[in-house]
């Protein structure tokens, strides 16, 4: 109990910065987007609290997609990369203990999934999932292969740019976020209807990882930097002080 403190409320989510629910260029959103306005309500304990994921849930290879599904001990096929960064909140503070789960296609652009129909082959040594819990400073890293672009059923010839999916669990249920990371310099970013759901170019740029050549491991793996920002928390001690008490 001694290290516990009341959870401050989260800053209001800027829904104009996020993609709107209805984005007709991304066809699946048409029937899956609520037609009514979101109903605003105050945050309660139900929204500001959240579970803790201890480092003890992690296996040694959870953050190594090159080896964590290897059937014969050999590496997954594809350009070797390391992705690192920090999970911070809108105050710029690192979020320690955040659960970061990632998933991606293999180097040929094929997912290991029963509903996947692309003709590119599976890599028997690549599963496509990884996870890491952020350190005391909010830092994380994982190793993988660079995923390939792939076609998808939307308009007749839409392709996804190479990307890695991220699910991030900070310290409150209201902070829950799923997003995608793209790669610096990929011209396909700007032709993708899903990327295009993000209203501003400025917002899209925050989802593009930067090649960090100084950090790159010589003769081994290139390194990309990708920071993630979660909703910030208010920190004033006055928030939950009720009048008259």
């Amino acid at each position: 109990m001694s290290n516990r403190k009341p959870a401050g409320g989260f800053f209001m989510r800027d829904t104009a910065w996020h993609p709107p629910a209805l984005t007709p260029q991304y066809k699946t959103s048409v029937a899956r987007s609520p037609s009514r306005a979101l109903l605003s309500m105050p945050q309660t304990m139900s929204e500001v609290t959240g579970p803790v994921f201890g480092h003890n849930i992690l296996g040694d290879l959870d953050n190594d997609l090159i080896l964590n599904y290897s059937q014969d001990g050999t590496s997954a096929i594809g350009p070797r990369i390391i992705v690192y960064g920090r999970v911070v909140d809108e105050n710029g503070r690192g979020v320690p203990g955040a659960l970061v789960e990632v998933w991606q296609a293999n180097a040929g652009g094929r997912y290991r999934h029963a509903k996947e129909g692309y003709i590119a082959p599976l890599d028997p040594n690549f599963g496509g999932c990884g996870r890491v819990i952020t350190d005391d400073d909010g830092g994380y890293e994982f190793r993988t292969i660079q995923p390939g672009p792939y076609p998808w059923p939307n308009r007749v010839n839409d392709w996804r740019p190479a990307h890695i999916h991220f699910s991030i669990f900070g310290d409150g249920f209201a902070q829950r976020l799923i997003t995608q990371m793209y790669f610096e310099g990929d011209p396909m970013i700007w032709q993708c209807p899903i990327v295009d759901t993000v209203p501003s170019r400025e917002g899209i740029e925050t989802l593009v990882a930067t090649l960090d050549m100084a950090a790159t491991l010589p003769m081994d793996a290139r390194v990309y930097k990708f920071d993630i920002v979660l909703r910030g928390r208010r920190a004033t001690i006055f928030e939950n002080r009720m009048e008259g008490t």
């Binding site: 629910a21 599904y69 998933w103 999934h113 699910s167 249920f173 799923i178 995608q180 917002g203």
Partner: protein, 202 residues
């Protein structure tokens, strides 16, 4: 003026059809990477409280079930305490996680949680809220995870501070589960159109 130096939240992107690979890999046949899927078990045989099953299906605006949705829930324990570091009112049941994650069945879209009935939790002004479960729904075609709440049909919801502030009271039933049997509740989520579930911004 003093700069605030604030960052902006990373924009959301859809979870896509393959969210299972990252979040419930064992469910989708990627075995041997993680021992089990996170959130698959919320209770054990020591958990205090009334055991319940919460089941449901997510429907799109045409009435078709989503077969690729993932649902997460977060709730208080039977005493109304959250198993969270920021819970300062007491210590929650250590045999109850409070958090669950399930994917809809590939064939039917139905998901199921084995949990306990939550206790009541206060609103910021001190009034008690009726027992409820927080939901977060993601899927292909959902650009920003949808947040809602499930209430119980066998509890008194008449003074709940959230439900009573809703202008369109005819929509409140979209937040109340249906009782299937003594310990089973069905909470169908309708993304759009007739009977559209109320989704929250907080």
């Amino acid at each position: 003026m003093i700069p605030l130096n604030r960052r902006r939240e990373s924009p959301s992107q859809t979870a896509g059809p393959y969210v299972h690979i990252g979040c419930v890999p064992n469910f989708c046949g990627i075995e041997g990477v993680y021992p089990h899927d996170l959130g698959d078990t919320m209770v054990n045989d020591q958990t205090k409280g009334e055991r319940i099953t919460v089941t449901g299906t997510t429907f799109d605006g045409t009435g078709t079930p989503l077969k690729d949705a993932m649902v997460e829930i977060w709730q208080a324990d039977a005493a109304g305490l959250y198993n969270s570091p920021s819970e300062i009112r007491g210590t929650a049941d250590t045999n109850f996680t409070g958090w669950g994650r399930k994917a809809g069945d590939y064939a039917t879209g139905e998901w199921n949680f084995e949990t306990v009935k939550p206790g009541a939790v206060p609103f910021p002004d001190g009034r008690m809220q009726a027992p409820h479960i927080s939901f977060w729904i993601v899927a292909r075609g959902i650009n920003l995870g949808l947040q809602t709440r499930m209430y119980f049909p066998d509890e008194d919801n008449s003074t709940d501070p959230v439900l009573t502030r809703i202008e369109h009271q005819n929509r409140v039933p979209t937040l109340v589960a249906e009782q299937v049997d003594a310990s089973t509740y069905r909470f169908n989520i309708r993304l759009q159109g007739e009977g559209e579930t109320i989704f929250f911004d907080f």
